[in-house]
Symmetry: C2
Subunit: 348 residues, 2 copies
């Protein structure tokens, strides 16, 4: 059964600033992987979704560049957000489009800018989820990543009873979602079998819209209004986005709904949510330095150095991030690279 | 009594790389002081030496730019070194020129790229030295800087008996020169009243040439050959420089001669021999950061940040040097900034 896939590509490039920027955010970069992240996200859906059933939600400023990366995508499948309002409005807007094509469609949601090391296992997990939904169409499924370290930068999911199982894959009822923990708590979570919340979802379009109606009734009314009198016009989209509250799907629905479930998955996932995270997934030299472009190291260990033109020379430094962007040069300890996004926003 | 002053401007800009470079070395930069270091060195001689008695020894590649900084200087007073061979050949070459004008001239030697905070006291020290030489024309005088911290980056001078004294200034016989010490030894040196060797000298031209004859007889023969048959032609200069041994004046003469003396001086001297040293002389912000150009700091302390175009953003880092040059970006802990010159040479 083919699915409708929504790629959320509204990222503003703040966390990997100054290399990624609002007009050239993370999803448009390859980060040494050979293909842009959004292209890889699209190709990963091969065999799961037809190009005509893939939707990209993004801002007007980068929509043209996204089309260049995804020439197979029908133009009308690029859904423009006039302003970013977090994930719940984005998902509601995409769900409305899918609903009008097929009210019983299975809808999957993926961020545009994550890495997946093993696309085969990714597709197995999604296919399993589709089977689960055939038997239990009311479920809201999230993919939970099996942690390999006590990461403090992610939210966690506590899995409960197993609802279904097949060929090594299981789907659990979700007991609770947990905010980003400190390191001690992260260790506890891992010991308790908690999973990372990766922001990847699978559900029937009628089920998620029913969840909006129940848990975010105002937003539900606003999104349904968009299509109440014929076509979804740009004016109606503008009205929706400029009036809707910015709420995340986790906070607005997943943490409240009782029919939420999780499929534990291991497919080499990384959200590249910081320069530190990027340094962990790319190749390192013998001294643990992750270098891109022209970089010279002398007695330097464990650094992430990203040159886009000038030669970066590191002498005797450890565990630093050093990034040259077009207009700025960033220097920050790896352990503080989570603070980059905040400062990038402040500098704008 | 007017002196003949030699400004040694052969520096290759290695220690403050990548901002200073072979084609734009330290002496041509202002480092936030408003005037290039060589211009300040020249103006500091006001009242001591006529422009016609000031000589600049430098390489052909930057001679043109030096003339732009010192338009008052007669063209023939720029003495080109075809290749750098350390300070002894440079001083011998300049001494030969001065000898031909006046065999009894007082000759002073100054590096082109040092900072002097109090030019008035600098001139007082030199004038005192000139008086000393009137009575004791055989002396080789060096200026010894009174240390204010146990610096490990300088050589030290042990002063002995006082030879002469006037208006708070004294000249001592030198007991010994000491190589750059470790920190414990530097503390001992300061406790013993030792002085920093600043590479500034004052002597009669006949006295220094006599010292060359005695302690560096081969070099003496080579330099006198340059003028043995009429004018000093470029071919003879080339022959001298390509055959002479690279020896420092300290090692070749000052440490060996018995007629060496020192005038202790306090005139806000700094050789800006490293980014760390530069950070100590320029203004700092409340968090101890020395910033030049476009720099943003967030929870960053004690850094030296030098931007020449791009915005340097420092988050949560301490005691680092971050420098943007035209082609390179340097990141090094301040305590290791002495290693920059070595690496800059290696990168060439």
């Amino acid at each position: 059964m083919a699915i409708h896939a929504v790629i959320m590509a509204g990222g503003r490039g703040e966390r990997l600033w100054p290399f990624s920027k609002p007009d050239m955010p993370k999803q448009l970069h390859a980060f040494g992987t050979g293909k842009s992240l959004i292209r890889s996200t699209f190709e990963r859906l091969d065999g799961l979704a037809e190009a005509s059933s893939v939707y990209v939600v993004t801002g007007a400023d980068i929509a043209g560049r996204i089309r260049e990366h995804l020439p197979e995508l029908p133009a009308e499948n690029i859904l423009i957000e006039p302003v970013g309002k977090n994930t719940a409005p984005c998902i509601a807007y995409a769900a409305l489009h899918i609903l009008r094509k097929d009210p019983e469609a299975v809808m999957a949601v993926f961020p545009a800018d994550h890495l997946v090391g093993d696309p085969g296992r990714f597709r197995e997990a999604i296919s399993f989820g589709v089977e689960v939904l055939a038997a239990r169409p009311e479920l809201l499924i999230t993919l939970g990543m099996v942690p390999d370290h006590p990461e403090t930068g992610y939210g966690y999911i506590a899995p409960g009873e197993v609802l279904d199982e097949e060929a090594g894959l299981r789907v659990h009822r979700v007991l609770a979602f947990r905010e980003k923990p400190d390191e001690a708590r992260a260790r506890d979570y891992i010991g308790s079998g908690y999973l990372w919340n990766a922001g990847m979802f699978l559900w029937r379009v009628d089920a998620i819209l029913e969840a909006f109606r129940k848990h975010l009734p105002v937003m539900y009314g606003q999104v349904m209004d968009m299509a109440s009198e014929g076509p979804i016009t740009p004016a109606r989209v503008n009205e929706f986005y400029y009036t809707v509250d910015p709420i995340s799907i986790d906070y607005g629905i997943m943490e409240k709904a009782s029919n939420v479930s999780v499929i534990p998955a291991e497919f080499g996932w990384n959200d590249i949510g910081s320069w530190d995270a990027l340094g962990k997934v790319l190749p390192r030299d013998d001294a643990g330095n992750t270098c891109q472009g022209s970089v010279v190291t002398e007695d330097a260990r464990g650094n992430v150095a990203w040159s886009t033109g000038k030669k970066i020379v590191l002498i005797g430094v450890e565990d630093l991030v050093v990034v040259e962007g077009d207009d700025a040069i960033l220097v920050v300890p790896r352990r503080r690279s989570q603070d980059v996004g905040k400062l990038a926003r402040k500098l704008k």
